[in-house]
Amino acid sequence: MADNTRKIDIECLRYNPETDAAPRYQTYNVPFTDDMSVLQGLQYIKDELDGSLTFRWSCRMAICGSCGSMINGVPQLSCHTFLRDYYPGPMRVEPLNHFPVLRDLAIDQTDFVRNKLPSVKPYIIPKESKTLAQGEYLQTPAQMHKYYHYSECINCLLCYAACPQYGLDPKFTGPAAIALMHRYNSDSRDDGRAERMELANSDEGVWGCTLVGYCSEVCPKGVDPAHAVNQNKVASTLDYFFRFLTPHGARR
């Protein structure tokens, strides 16, 4: 079998919080074959060239959402992106935009994990509590179809790296969290809409979005967060007007 190994220069953003005042770039010459992902390129660097390069990864098959990075300026899962598409290079790998850099390619996800995600109450708030003995909450395939693709979010944060509004104002709840809010609001078993709409209507809510639309472009799971956010602008507007017409507002 012919050896089809080629070489490409990968420029990695490097940042060591203990010694560096600001990030710098370091270039590695990496041999690769056609079947190698960018993640495998990074793993080659760590194993063979420079053990100090720090990056996150886990599943290698686009489901864990750990390995998101800016690849030539585009937010992508590095396991889902191939080195062959960047040949002859050089190519650049950086940590996800709009997040603080912890070290090299690893970002600080605290804002999303601790603030954004819990704020949308991403769990079913049932209409009526049932004991186990009373059985499961039933749902038809049509009812499931309403929210299913929003439930495929893997929290990889590519959409936040694609959202300039989040970069400019980190208080904005952001694409993935609002898509998850919409996922639970659209679930026939859920009754938490009123609680979640308070956040959607707030300054941190859906109106922080200016429909750039790049979040949906970069989403590796087809969640379409821009669609979720913008449907909730309509919902938020209706909430605003209906509160004058009904005694309890449109919170049902």
């Binding site: 709009h98 600080d108 309403k146 429909l211």
Partner: protein, 127 residues
Amino acid sequence: MSSVKTYVRPMAGWWRKNPFFVRYMIREASAPLFYLYALWLLAGIVALALGPVAYATWWAIATNPLMILLNLVVLVFAVYHTWTWFSVLPKTTPDIDVEPGTLVTGGVIAAIVVCAALFAFAWGVTR
């Protein structure tokens, strides 16, 4: 936020770094042009109400080659701006099982039909 030291990258020049953001900024930045164009049309109506001399002045400015060129520039941006909003139609409609492409084409056709009908109506009324 965690207590670990982190580096926050600046946002300066963010929209120049990605062609997607450049197209977005052209969409947003073109909006004030239509506001100015509407004001200009409004000035025409005011001039019409003021009398023939005022209207003749407005008309003289409106038919100046420079003004026509300016109008053409605004028209180009208006077409681009309009197109961008039709192309994000699938992001704003309720969840329906229609292909995004079909939705955009349908939206454009519907808009053309409505505009043509309005134009025909106005034409009929004013003749």
